[in-house]
């Protein structure tokens, strides 16, 4: 099973997750299927309906990723309303359609509407996933995973799987190959995410998602209260240690879980940590009080390099802002003088026209009034056509309207490998403390080194050949 998150291939595949991008922040995740079990009744099989048209999955399968897909003409009105039909003719139609379900009809392209077919990434998934709890967004998890040193081959413990955004991001970070049953990889350690969730329903949902997304074997979901039962896989007492290198705690009281994350658990159970590497931890808490308790506990348990940060991310909108009197009547244009000069000119022109108007009024002949006005309009129209709209105005930036002011405080800490007296002793024997060679003179050049090694080789050859010749003499 391949995950479209990790190895999407070049085309969309049946029964795999695909994202249907409607617009920038509107993406519909869907599993591509020809037949829809729940919603049967379309002639075309499974159909995703959007505000930009209907898309039978038959038009989405086996397409190159990134393709722009055109909406199809789908009869959405008559389907499924067999009981409360307004028009009887339609009812008859739909019932006959339902019968020939097994072979989806070839859809007809609609005249308008399209979407883009994208393979899922943790970023796009995070933006479109079904919310169950507070979501860890990209600016946070990108920094967390970077600081946690979650790299290909690492094992990550995640507690509080929540909505699964961090799960997807972390599995991408640690992925370095799919596990296979027939040939257990000896040399390489495969990356893995061990996800714990204490809410039964949420845990089940994450499990289903993991399966649907082809992440089985890469993500192991455990339904568990980690405060009480710790982080061993399987049985809380005798289970296998995940041997984690990195830990992410998105829990209301992370300090309660920390007692299980030690090198030598007091009850004699196995430690869930990797004994051969430093372990990195991050806790994700919205309140300062939580942070203080967490850090205090971390200090007591001997974690080092403790630091706390918050991530402030903002998205920036780039827009052309058009200000001016001569830009014509386009939506979004501010009809206002763009400079003092233009303001003065405009007022002057108005003044002149008023004078002219008064003059003509005085003459009590209304004939010549329309002339200057028409002239003015013609001028405006001319300028509009000169510069295309996409080049008018000035490019401006501003923060987007929905600003996330605070997500959570991130606490980071590191637990070094255990280092005993014996280890130190062994190391001292291998690397004698007082053996120091003073650096000899200036560094040798590559050429020099080469020459030296050649001389050495020649010398060796001579030595080797000499005894031979001697023995021949004998």
């Amino acid at each position: 099973m391949h995950s479209p998150f990790l190895t999407p291939g070049s085309r969309s595949q049946l029964d795999n997750l695909a994202l249907l991008q409607l617009r920038r922040d509107q993406t519909i995740p869907t599993i591509l299927q020809l037949h829809d079990e729940k919603n049967g009744g379309y002639k075309e099989g499974k159909v995703t309906n959007t505000r930009f048209g209907s898309f039978p999955h038959i038009t989405l399968c086996d397409q190159p990723w990134g393709s722009q897909i055109i909406a199809s003409k789908v009869d959405t009105g008559s389907r499924g309303r067999t009981q409360k039909m307004k028009r009887k003719a339609d009812e008859l139609d739909s019932s006959t359609q339902a019968e020939d379900k097994p072979s989806p009809q070839t859809p007809v392209a609609a005249s308008s509407g399209f979407l883009h077919l994208l393979y899922p990434t943790p970023e796009l998934w995070t933006a479109s996933l079904p919310h169950r709890t507070q979501v860890v967004y990209t600016p946070d998890y990108s920094y967390i995973l970077h600081r946690l040193r979650a790299r290909p081959g690492s094992t990550v413990i995640e507690a509080g799987a929540g909505s699964g955004s961090f799960t997807h991001a972390s599995v991408r970070a640690v992925f370095n190959g799919y596990p296979s049953d027939d040939q257990p990889t000896k040399k390489r350690r495969l990356g893995k995410v061990c996800s714990f969730e204490f809410h039964a329903q949420r845990a089940e949902k994450v499990r289903v998602e993991v399966n649907q997304h082809g992440l089985d074997g890469l993500v192991e979901v455990t339904h568990r209260d980690v405060y009480e039962d710790g982080f061993l896989l399987g049985d809380p007492k005798t289970g296998k240690s995940p041997k984690a290198n990195a830990i992410f705690l998105d829990l209301p009281a992370p300090w309660l879980a920390l007692k299980h994350l030690v090198r030598n658990p007091p009850e004699g159970t196995e430690s869930p940590l990797d004994p051969t590497s430093p372990v990195y931890i991050c806790t994700f808490s919205p309140c300062l009080e939580q942070v203080q308790r967490t850090i205090s506990t971390l200090r007591q348990l001997g974690w080092l390099g403790i630091s706390m940060v918050e991530v402030n991310n903002r998205r920036i909108e780039v827009k052309r802002e058009r200000v001016g009197l001569d830009l014509g009547n386009i939506r979004g244009t501010v009809v206002f003088p763009k400079s003092v000069d233009e303001a003065v000119e405009r007022t002057r022109a108005l003044e002149e026209r008023a004078q002219l108007f008064r003059a003509t009024q005085n003459q009590s002949d209304g004939d010549s009034t329309p002339a200057p006005k028409a002239e003015n309009e013609a001028k405006g129209g001319q300028q509009e056509s000169e510069v295309p709209v996409y080049k008018q105005g000035r490019v401006m930036t501003r923060s987007e309207l929905d600003l996330k002011n605070h997500t959570s405080y991130l606490v980071f800490a590191i637990l070094p490998r255990e280092w005993t007296e014996e280890d130190e002793k062994r190391c001292r024997e291998k690397w004698p403390s007082n053996r120091v060679q003073e650096p000899q003179g200036p560094q040798k050049s590559k050429k020099q080194l080469k020459r030296e090694s050649r001389e050495k080789r020649d010398l060796q050859r001579k030595e080797q050949s000499q005894p031979e010749t001697e023995s021949q003499k004998e």
Binding site: I69, T121, E123, R151, F175, S277, R417
Partner: protein
């Protein structure tokens, strides 16, 4: 994963002054830390990372060791004590609730410290205790110490400790630590002021990750996974960061598993491994079975596009890889490919690519001098390598594009975006926002619509012209038409979807009992921005966007007045013809 200090590895040493020093740990050498002292490198080789050592004044008589590992409890001692005393949550207050000690009485002058400069210097020479003695002396002879509030006392202690303590912490040199080191201690301009948080964000938005098991994947998917295009003017930092994400940065990455597999006796394995490390590389290279060809990886690879003849990737030296003298055992040797813009855009102008060295028959080769034969093989190898790398790059279908460049990013995207596979992600870093706003403007919805309309117009013109010539291809635009389009639009705006601009900043806090607040100062300079977009494959059919915007009922505008349909804000209710 970094489990212990290996000989001849670069590490970062964090000093009491919060500076980091990057140091190659060569066996049997001495490491100098300036005023904080020196120690023999052997005393940290083989030890785990993140330990803090204290430099002792007198070495152990038996084995000459002069370092002491400071246990975590001792490092945290002060805060733990403070927490023990009423959690440090309350200030010392009088009965009426006013703070007992304030700085009201404290007069700022240098006379409060009774020790003179000369005395301190003398103390430094004599006293031991890795600086602790000096600090206690300083505290003793401080006249108004008892007037200090606990906060200012803590600050005072910290200042003195930074100055006199002879301690250091050994950190593994990874991308994060190198980035912080470059930002703080080295010229930040060299890495385009790329902050650590930006490194993570750039990699995530670029969707950079390990491409999976190549052997397994090739059977199923015809396309190799995990091929990324990188444009890097940070001296190799971005390449290193992406390589780290792809698992090809650290030469010993794969080794740890063996160590872990036999958890019964990991120490023995480690010792063996360390023994392997001891051997000089020349020796080990002689009995290596097959030499992996330079830049030969099909998947999980980085292709660096560089403006000059040679790429500048000097920072990779800290990870054991030098561009001039690549170590064949390093994963980057196989997975890092470099190609110049000239080779990409006009390969025949580059003699290395276009001029194939003559093939000399074997028989003739034997008669040649060994160095000439070597030169011949080198030339042949270089030619085949450049041929394959350039051809592969020009064929495109890359899985992502990561850019951090001082050049105009739009010029990079103009040529690099067409090389991406559909749905591939583009992430561009810039220290300041202006190049990226220009870029966003080039990909604005208004530009897209205008571009599509203009192309349609040109096509129709072409159709009319070619109506007399029946065999002309109707849909394909010729180069002359394209260049007309490019002159107007510079690049094809329809190839990228949903351009987004963002910036991200990390704000560090101090969390101490009763003294929690954001750090008082942090680095200014470039803010750092990231542009992100997705490569798409626009359909060649003529379609219109269907928009039923509820608020404004606007008819989809017909083609005769294309410019009026433009609105960069809403983005959907525009006519799209392709």
């Amino acid at each position: 994963m970094h489990s212990y200090v290996r000989p001849n590895q670069f590490v970062a040493l964090r000093l009491p002054s919060e500076f980091t020093k990057i140091q190659k740990i060569e066996p049997d050498s001495t490491v100098f830390l300036g005023k904080f002292g020196s120690f023999p490198a052997n005393q940290i080789i083989g030890r785990p990372f993140y330990l803090t050592f204290e430099i002792l004044d007198d070495a152990d008589e038996k084995d000459g060791s002069c370092l002491r590992i400071i246990p975590a409890a001792e490092l945290h001692a002060e805060t733990l004590i403070a927490e023990g005393e009423g959690d440090g949550e309350e200030l010392d207050t009088n009965e009426d609730g006013t703070p007992m000690r304030t700085n009201r009485e404290i007069v700022d002058d240098a006379s409060t410290q009774k020790l003179t400069w000369e005395e301190i210097e003398a103390l430094k020479k004599e006293s031991g205790g890795a600086g602790r003695e000096i600090i206690s002396k300083l505290l003793e002879s401080h006249q108004t110490l008892d007037q200090k509030t606990s906060f200012s006392l803590a600050k005072y202690m910290l200042r003195k400790r930074r100055k006199y303590m002879k301690r250091f912490t050994v950190l593994p040199l990874d991308v994060s630590i190198l980035t912080n080191h470059m930002m703080e201690d080295q010229g930040a301009a060299r890495i385009m002021e790329l902050r650590d948080e930006m490194v993570g964000l750039l990699g995530c938005w670029g969707n950079v990750h390990h491409g999976g098991d190549a052997s397994l994947d090739e059977a199923i998917a015809a396309k190799p996974n995990g091929r990324y295009l990188v444009v890097d003017d940070t001296g190799g930092l971005v390449v290193a960061a992406m390589a780290e994400r792809m698992g090809i940065l650290y030469p010993h990455d794969g080794d740890e598993y063996e160590e872990q597999g036999s958890s019964d006796e990991p120490k023995k394995n480690e010792a063996e491994q360390a023994h392997d490390d001891e051997q000089p590389p020349t020796e080990s290279s002689t009995h290596r079975p097959a030499r992996p060809a330079h830049m030969s990886a099909s998947g999980n690879s980085i292709t660096v596009l560089h403006p000059n003849k040679q790429p500048n990737l000097s920072l990779l030296k800290y990870f054991g890889y030098s561009q001039d003298n690549p170590d064949e055992t390093h994963p980057l040797h196989k997975h890092l490919k470099t190609i110049s813009w000239l080779q990409l855009l006009d390969p025949n102008a580059d003699p290395i690519y276009s001029e194939e060295p003559e093939i000399i028959p074997e028989s003739e080769l034997y008669t040649m001098k060994s160095n000439k034969r070597g030169a011949y093989y080198r030339k042949r190898n270089r030619w085949t390598r450049v041929q394959s790398v350039v051809n592969e790059a020009r064929a495109g279908e890359f899985d992502g594009l990561i850019v951090a460049t001082v050049m105009d990013p739009s010029s990079v995207l103009k040529y690099a975006v067409p090389l991406l596979a559909g749905s591939a992600h583009v992430a561009v870093y810039s220290p300041s926002i202006e190049p990226l706003t220009e870029l966003s403007d080039l990909y604005s919805t208004a530009k897209k619509t205008a571009f599509i309309n203009r192309r349609q117009q040109l096509r129709e013109q072409k159709l009319q012209q070619s109506s007399d010539q029946p065999d002309a291809n109707e849909t394909e635009l010729q180069d002359s038409d394209l260049s007309e389009l490019m002159a107007e639009f510079y690049l094809d705006p329809t190839l990228l979807l949903a351009p987004t601009l963002q910036n991200s900043r990390v704000r560090p806090w101090q969390v101490l009992p009763g003294r929690t607040h954001p750090l008082m100062s942090m680095r200014g300079g470039a803010e750092g921005y990231i542009f992100h977009a997705v490569r798409v494959i626009p359909t060649q059919q003529t379609i219109q966007a269907a928009g039923n915007l509820s608020r404004k009922k606007r008819k989809v505008v017909t083609q005769e007045t294309p410019t009026t349909a433009v609105d960069s804000g809403s983005g959907v209710d525009v006519e799209m013809k392709s």
